[in-house]
Symmetry: C2
Subunit: 426 residues, 2 copies
């Protein structure tokens, strides 16, 4: 599709075209520096490069085509929104822009200055008219996972078609009841939006689609326990990021093809870094596109990332939905149970996350853990202290990083990560 | 009681005596500067001066005496913990120290630097062994009202006997169910702690005690609509603060006696400031003892505070528990309903708070509203922006202040408040 057709589409979506051009230019350069400069990439990453190069182009065109066919677009910022229900009503489920500083001054008129970069970003993208995903949405589904998002959605609702799901804060029977009623309420909302009744057949198919994507990503992650590391952390993060935007069937097929290549590479004892490269697990806050700063810093400091313990990582794929349900009711119960297993820092206590991180570090043969918190993210900021103590107790070295989307601290981060990595030399 | 007996008591509570001495000295001087310097105070404030001067002395002695009689002490940081249930089990219900910088360096080892002063304070008071209330507690009841407290309680639980109540984030039927199950769980926990079964008679009596205190404070607030203002905002804040520490029966009696005096003063058209003094409503985060900085700044800048819209203010007293219930079940339902009316910023949406603040400003004949947010308090930080817009729309002037417990910004705050007050001259 020609660039002029995209421009026409973006204009129809009421994007700020000059600012959007500038954004795409910066994004392209950033991607080139961080991704295209890598040595020994897997051939299958070409698919991801293509998807990312077309993330505001071809993918948005697909959304517009879906809308022209009468399908609805549902946007989200969180792994708690049950994608299976969206898909079962034949709507499209996409993640929204929240990974770069954009429209920050405008955002700070709606939310406090002391708000994390991710929240300021999604509000800024909307107010500055820079996110074609947000502008394509018929419904945007938020959740009450943190104070920052919970309260930001109230302000955001004046600018976008918001719907908010309440996520409980503990995991007892009464919390499951609350969460179940929220899942049922979401089902009704999506049915109303789309005019499509969610049948057992539709829901079963949707559960299989999303589980298949999770299985492909689980397969990818399992292969990363190999030494030398067969894929860079940057590429694996990109794959996880793209999983929120791309058509799920196409994506799953591509990732399985990539995994076939990785298996060949492992059989040949090849990798993206020598076998003695320090292996790090990245753990903490989500990294939305194009938030590649810390992975780039880490992998430029002589280490390789072997896992992402985050919502844009294992938190989104670890648990499958039980597929044995026969009725809609059975399947909804299975969804309720699966989503309540998520080890988000919004829960108190959230000890299973401590267990999961320690287990991942061992499983992926990591030499250490880099904890990543967005500045002003209270849930993961608190857990960073708790997790640091737990990792100390298990004699797993860890480094806690707090940062935002600016580039001002890159040199300082490099220095800290290099010092940490040197300590780990295998 | 002689100072030496208090020292013995503090020693038994394992307080850090030299640091505690220093704290009491600073507190005494601070109180003298801010409170004893006031002109035309009500004679009934002597009771409050006495209670405050004995807050770590006589009141702690009373708690120790209660413990010696086999009664239990329950400490809290939030107006969501149903005091009626604590009292019905014959336990003592007290607020805990959280209004001054204390043990900050120690606290920052347990919680992130970007945590509000109130949370750092309660952790610091505990770790530095400076709060005789905390040290007297058999149970400390937290709640999930904000990310900061929710996660801080996890760390705090390693140092104190913590119990956490989950507060829902919306107010629909499923939220009421969750909250009801939490109220029932709290009842069971208190019964287990005390060995006392909560009967209808006990619960009815407790409801009356707490309602009577609310009624006395409602009476006080209603009298503050008079012009000239019959009582300073500092004194009214102190009364609200002391309501969390003092014996409820004694307190209620004293406040009603004070209200009698206020009525005489109003009849004589007398007040603490001339009738043309700008009248301000204070709104936002709670101000725990000895957090008197902003009220002092405001009332030193030629204004008078006529109401406190905060948890240590109207949020704790606006709603009574329905007293018509006959059975324990009825009364528990009445408690559930009453507590779910609280217009805390933890709810989304929380539009009733916007309505309540605007209504209070009119009711108390306020010329403007000073919004107070603790730095890094996300819920009230977000609502400050929303409330500012609402007050603008109602043509009620407002000023948003974000601060902490340090004294470094006092001059800057004075300048801002003076500029705001001059704009309002009646």
């Amino acid at each position: 599709m020609a660039d002029s057709e995209y421009r026409e589409m973006w204009e129809k979506l009421d994007l700020d075209l000059p600012a959007h051009d500038a954004l795409l230019e910066v994004l392209g350069k950033f991607y080139g520096d961080i991704y295209m400069s890598q040595q020994g990439r897997l051939q299958g990453m070409e698919y991801l490069d293509f998807v990312l190069s077309e993330v505001h182009g071809l993918r948005i065109k697909e959304l517009q085509d879906a809308k022209a066919e009468g399908r609805k677009i549902v946007g989200t910022f969180c792994v708690f929104v049950p994608e299976e229900i969206t898909l079962a009503a034949d709507a499209v489920h996409v993640g929204l822009c929240s990974g770069a500083d954009a429209g920050t001054e405008l955002a700070e008129q709606l939310v406090p200055r002391n708000t994390c970069a991710l929240i300021k970003s999604f509000i800024g993208f909307k107010l500055a008219r820079l996110c074609p995903f947000t502008e394509s949405c018929d419904l945007i589904v938020g959740e009450t996972t943190c104070d920052g998002k919970k309260k930001a959605y109230e302000a955001f609702a004046d600018h976008a078609p918001m719907y908010v799901m309440e996520v409980p804060q503990q995991k007892r029977a009464c919390d499951r009841e609350l969460w179940k009623s929220e899942v049922l309420r979401y089902k009704e909302a999506v049915e109303k939006l789309t005019g499509t009744t969610i049948t057992a057949e539709r829901l079963r198919k949707a559960i299989t689609i999303v589980n298949d994507r999770r299985r492909a990503l689980q397969r990818l992650n399992a292969l990363r326990s190999a030494n030398p590391a067969p894929i860079s952390g940057r590429d694996a993060l990109l794959i996880n990021q793209v999983s929120f935007y791309d058509d799920p069937l196409r994506f799953t097929q591509s990732i399985n093809a990539l995994c076939d290549q990785i298996e060949e590479r492992i059989a040949a004892r090849e990798g993206v870094a020598p076998a003695d490269t320090p292996r790090l697990l990245l753990s903490g806050c989500p990294m939305a596109v194009p938030n590649w700063k810390l992975p780039y810093v880490i992998e430029s400091a002589g280490a390789v990332i072997v896992g992402e313990e985050s919502c844009i990582g294992t938190r989104n794929i670890r648990d499958l939905v039980d597929e044995s349900g026969e009725t809609v009711e059975d399947m909804l119960d299975a969804l309720v149970d699966r989503y309540l297993k998520i080890d988000c820092a919004c829960f108190t206590p959230n000890d299973e996350r401590m267990d999961n991180v320690a287990a991942m570090a061992r499983e992926y043969n990591a030499d250490g853990v880099v904890q990543y918190s967005l500045m002003f993210c209270q849930p993961y900021g608190h857990e960073a202290i708790k997790l640091g103590k737990r990792l100390d107790a298990e004699q797993i070295p860890s480094l806690a990083i707090e940062t935002d989307y600016s580039m001002e601290d890159v040199e300082q981060l490099k220095t800290r990560v290099e010092a940490f990595t040197e300590m780990l030399v295998r």
